[in-house]
């Protein structure tokens, strides 16, 4: 509950930052809309119509009031609300992100735990090296290389898009076609999602393996494997949950970049076309929605914390 109240000023702060950005940006929106050589009277009328003649603090209040009603701006190019446009594209992005995150979580936690159990083994060293590489490789470049190799060179996967535009598949064939298109983008995403999860898992499990209760469990005659899975891993879950929660912005960014390379019809393509068309409503709305998502994710992480750890729940 206390956390919930703390989140409010953060959301407020994020909206004010967004508003300041829009207003501090060079270029007059009215001139952009009405053309450069309209007469002064017309400009004044437009200003009044959009409330741009009022003092700045009033404009901020109007903006915040609209935000409360879910109005994050209007895309003049698409003649629709920015939120509507974004929500239209969101499912396509989630179609890549959710499976990628699921796969990355499974890989990250299992390999991280194994690496921790056999610290400094060949497996551990390989995993750590792979993590370092995964941290350094730009995901859009990785996507290009995957595309070069497996789509162009070997022709195993389709090059771009979400489905085969030439074929008119139905039912299961259509699903399989989309799945086939999903493989390369998901591989690219998994590659960059895994390192943070694996690294934190490894560190947390190693830390827990040093604890007294682990030695006690071993002394009671429990097997190494059982101690690892039943005791060390559950207690390492908290930092793992945190890292997944705190990486959500990074994951969206990765997704946007991967979509751009594979011409996947999601938020990435929307963002790119918004940049090209100078459709700032879309860009700022996306920024704000993402900030709020991150704040929500932090909240959820805290909740999960209190569920997993009774000490946090009882506020000690």
């Amino acid at each position: 509950m206390r956390r919930l109240i703390q989140a409010v000023p953060l959301v407020f702060g994020a909206s004010v930052v967004t508003w300041i950005l829009i207003h501090a940006a060079p270029g007059d929106p009215i001139v952009a809309l009405a053309g450069e050589d309209g007469d002064a009277g017309y400009y004044a009328m437009m200003r009044e119509r959009f409330g741009l003649d009022r003092p700045l603090h009033e404009q901020l209040f109007v903006y915040l009031g609209r935000l409360l009603q879910g109005d994050l701006g209007f895309s003049y190019r698409q003649n629709r609300s920015a939120v509507g446009v974004i929500l239209d594209q969101l499912p396509a992005t989630l179609l890549l992100m959710v499976p990628a995150l699921a796969i990355a979580t499974v890989i990250g936690i299992s390999v991280g735990t194994l690496a921790a159990a056999r610290k400094n083994s060949a497996l551990d060293n390989t995993a750590r090296t792979a993590t370092l590489l995964g941290h350094a490789v730009p995901v859009f470049w990785l996507s290009q290389v995957l595309l070069l190799l497996f789509a162009l060179r070997f022709d195993w996967f389709p090059v771009q898009g979400r489905n085969d535009a030439r074929a008119d598949y139905e039912g299961l064939r259509a699903v399989l076609d989309v799945a086939h298109h999903m493989v390369l983008p998901i591989v690219a995403l998994v590659t960059v999602y895994v390192p943070p999860i694996m690294r934190v898992t490894r560190a947390a499990v190693i830390e827990n393996l040093d604890e007294m209760y682990i030695r006690a469990a071993r002394a009671r005659g429990q097997s190494r494997r059982r101690v690892l899975i039943r005791h060390a891993l559950p207690n390492a879950m908290l930092p793992i949950v945190t890292v997944i929660g705190s990486q959500i912005g990074f994951m969206f960014a990765g997704s946007v970049l991967v979509e751009t390379v594979f011409a996947w019809p999601g938020l990435g393509r929307l963002l790119l076309s918004a940049i090209l068309a100078r459709d700032f409503a879309i860009i700022t709305a996306m920024l704000l929605m993402l900030s709020v998502t991150i704040i929500l994710m932090n909240l959820i992480t805290d909740l999960v914390y209190s569920l997993l750890d009774p000490r946090v729940r009882h506020g000690t």
Partner: protein, 311 residues
């Protein structure tokens, strides 16, 4: 890829828990370990990191000697494969890819170092003031720190560059303004820890002014871990700059690896060399500075294991 906040294992603990806590002992350890540079030099990770970083810096510094060709000039016919004449081939306009890769190092290095330096200054000032002043000022500044933590760096940078126009200055500014959070936390806890130490209290009792205290006692003892932490910003900043340039939001007047990859995207079927080499350069440079940063942090911040911090 790169983009969000550094992930510190202790982040949660650091944000929730109050002042000193771990402080004093950590401080002692840092001093004690100052002599053991040998340990740093004996770690293969640190050595590889150092070698790659030095290579990166040398290429950036000597770009005009290594590749005298202007990366924007038309040096050959379009789409030449890699050959002895053009080691890494030419692009769609016949520009030399090798020259681009070499000169692109300058842009990346500049962005990385500028962002890390600026976030170091902002973080030290905010954290230092918060720790030293305490009370309401501390509360308010830490609130700001929290806010900077929830703003998504990549998208904020993207929005700023899209609204204010592409340019390295804008990019460095917005990245620096969003990446000082960890530095501020560490600077703050460092100041809190040192403030409590007896010799500082003694100096205070002897009538030394707060400012003098800050300068002569507190800062020298907190700066090393903070600098180490800031070094982790370099790789992340390089990756974000490359990502934005890849989306066409880079500075059009300077050659950069991201810009080359943006250009390569249209010709990916035709000229693989246009994609492969600039990306490889990014990966090597970021790997180098990350490894070095990790090693520095193992050394200076043994407690706050900053895992995967380059993002």
């Amino acid at each position: 890829m790169a983009l969000e906040r550094p992930v510190a294992l202790t982040e949660h603990a650091a944000s929730g828990r109050g002042p000193a806590g771990s402080g004093a002992s950590e401080h002692h350890r840092a001093r004690w370990e100052r002599g053991s540079w040998r340990r740093l030099a004996s770690s293969p990770v640190a050595v590889v990191g150092l070698v790659l970083t030095v290579l990166f810096v040398l290429v950036a510094a000597l770009a005009s000697y290594i590749a005298p060709t202007d990366p924007f000039s038309f040096a050959g016919t379009p789409f030449e494969r890699p050959s002895p004449k053009h080691w890494l081939g030419t692009d769609d306009l016949g520009r030399d890819v090798f020259a681009g890769v070499v000169h692109g190092a300058r842009t990346s290095l500049f962005v990385g170092v500028a962002v890390a330096g600026a976030s170091l200054v902002i973080g030290t000032v905010v954290g230092g003031v918060a720790g030293f002043a305490g009370g309401k000022v501390d509360d308010l500044l830490m609130r700001f720190t929290e806010l900077s933590q929830v703003l998504p760096r990549f998208f904020l940078a993207l929005t700023v560059v899209a609204l204010f126009g592409p340019g390295l200055r804008n990019m460095v500014l917005v990245l620096a303004l969003t990446s000082w959070e960890l530095t501020a936390r560490v600077a703050r806890s460092g100041v809190l820890a040192v403030k409590e130490l007896e010799y500082v209290t003694a100096a205070e009792a002897l009538g030394s002014s707060p400012w003098r205290n800050l300068r002569t006692h507190v800062l020298p003892n907190t700066i090393a871990p903070v600098v180490a932490l800031a070094s982790l910003q370099v790789g992340g900043a390089i990756l974000i700059e490359a990502s934005l340039s890849f989306l066409g939001l880079g500075d059009p007047n300077v050659i950069s690896w991201g810009y080359m990859l943006n250009n390569a995207q249209s010709f990916v079927r035709r000229a693989w060399w246009m994609s492969v080499f600039p990306g490889l350069a990014i990966a090597v440079a970021v790997l180098g500075v990350n490894l070095l940063g990790d090693a520095l942090n193992d050394f200076w911040n043994p407690r706050s294991r900053t895992s995967g911090a380059a993002r």
